[in-house]
Symmetry: C2
Subunit: 216 residues, 2 copies
DNA sequence: TGTACATCAGTGAACGCGCGTTCACTGATGTAC
DNA sequence: TGTACATCAGTGAACGCGCGTTCACTGATGTAC
């Protein structure tokens, strides 16, 4: 795809075009292969033009990462569906959505997790990241609340465990490049089994909460 | 540290010096900041000299990653201690060793997991990686064998889950740069709790196998 | 023990390249009156 | 409706830089006899 369609001296939509070009470059060569100059070239614009929209290369990457987190959030909350049809099923859908995002949007994923952008220098990025994680945390809270008080796990810990497991699987087994490790099953199956086993340790999963009954 | 101590025209130990310089550069600026020219400079040698020892930049990085896997293997098997004092305790020590390695050798860790080196182009690297993972797999086999047959989990799956969880935690919460996420507990605690809960789902952990008794 | 010679591991200069960023500029757009 | 003008988003040339890699070379080392 070319991001250089423009009509006249002014591009009209350069900011968007640069984001798109950056994604294309990352997809092709990884985050280290991205350069401002080449993004400008892809957008059909002089190498100085990007600096009208972004302070420097990192700012452009941070913008891409920010949008990645927003898309991830959208995808996650779509999968969660407010905990329907039942919490455990929805929780697994959340995990599948995470892997699905890493797989279908590897360029976003790389911008979010492989660029070493200092988060504290980009508060909006940190906020978007926190928001995505917050969705996972919220789901964990719902699940935890279903448990009898004595064995209720801290939801924050649950969320961190599932995030780390998902991210580990995604970055080891779902990467788009030739550094991907091979797997004797699908990454989705691996994650689903892991999450189910993890939930089992709380007495969750199994058939207990399936079907939406809050019977316990 | 300077890797440039040499006596005379011949360096005497340039290969080692270049590996050391590469680690130093990665530690300082990340894998993307490493260049052959600068490694040569650090080693006190002309920019052409590295090419006597490594075909190109990737070959040097691959050598560093290879040594990283070897060190990781050494660290893991040291922690496992043949399953003593008991399998569950030793298994947790394995996890702690993994995080410890990521933390104390971030440059190795980055060379191993953040460089996008195509594994199939470096069979020795793939072998070293497989060997490290094999240690984890072996431990999982021992653990699994302790379980009554009907609920025995596939050890390969166990190993993959624990690897992914460890790697996820390491790369999200133990990275040395400012992209590290903050955590309301130590990464080690998070991993240990996760592994324990995971093992609980098999009926392992708890006090069952603690103390080395093969009583069940 | 001495010497001729092969081999090895460096040098240093050069190649072509592309980068990030700045600068003074200019063409296009839109708004006030 | 027309015009003057401010603002904006581009240009293009230039800066200094460092890179990976190749090449013919040379100094050092070690070995055969």
């Amino acid at each position: 795809m070319s991001w250089g369609e423009r009509r006249g001296y002014h591009h009209g939509n350069l900011r968007e075009a640069l984001v798109g070009a950056t994604l294309e470059l990352i997809a092709e060569k990884g985050p280290a292969g991205f350069t401002v100059a080449e993004a400008a070239r892809l957008a059909g614009v002089s190498p100085a033009a990007p600096y009208r929209h972004f302070r420097d290369a990192e700012a452009l990457l941070a913008e891409v990462a920010l949008r990645g987190f927003e898309q991830l959030s959208a995808s996650l909350s779509g999968a969660w569906r407010d905990g329907r049809p039942d919490l455990v099923t929805a929780f697994e859908a959340l995990g599948r959505a995470y892997l699905g995002f890493a797989r279908s949007e590897p360029a976003y994923y790389a911008a979010m997790f492989e660029t070493r952008i200092p988060v504290e220098a980009h508060p909006d990025l940190a906020a978007a990241s926190d928001h995505a994680f917050g969705l996972l945390r919220h789901a964990a809270e719902q699940l935890s609340a279903q448990l009898p008080k004595p064995e209720r796990p801290p939801p924050l810990m649950m969320a961190l465990h599932v995030w780390a497991l998902s991210h580990g699987i995604a970055s080891l087994f779902c990467r788009p490049d030739r550094a991907r490790r091979s797997l004797p099953m699908s990454a989705e199956e691996l994650l689903e089994a892991g999450v189910l086993l993890y939930l089992q340790s709380f007495g969750l999963a199994g058939s207990k909460l399936r079907g939406g009954a809050k019977s316990s």
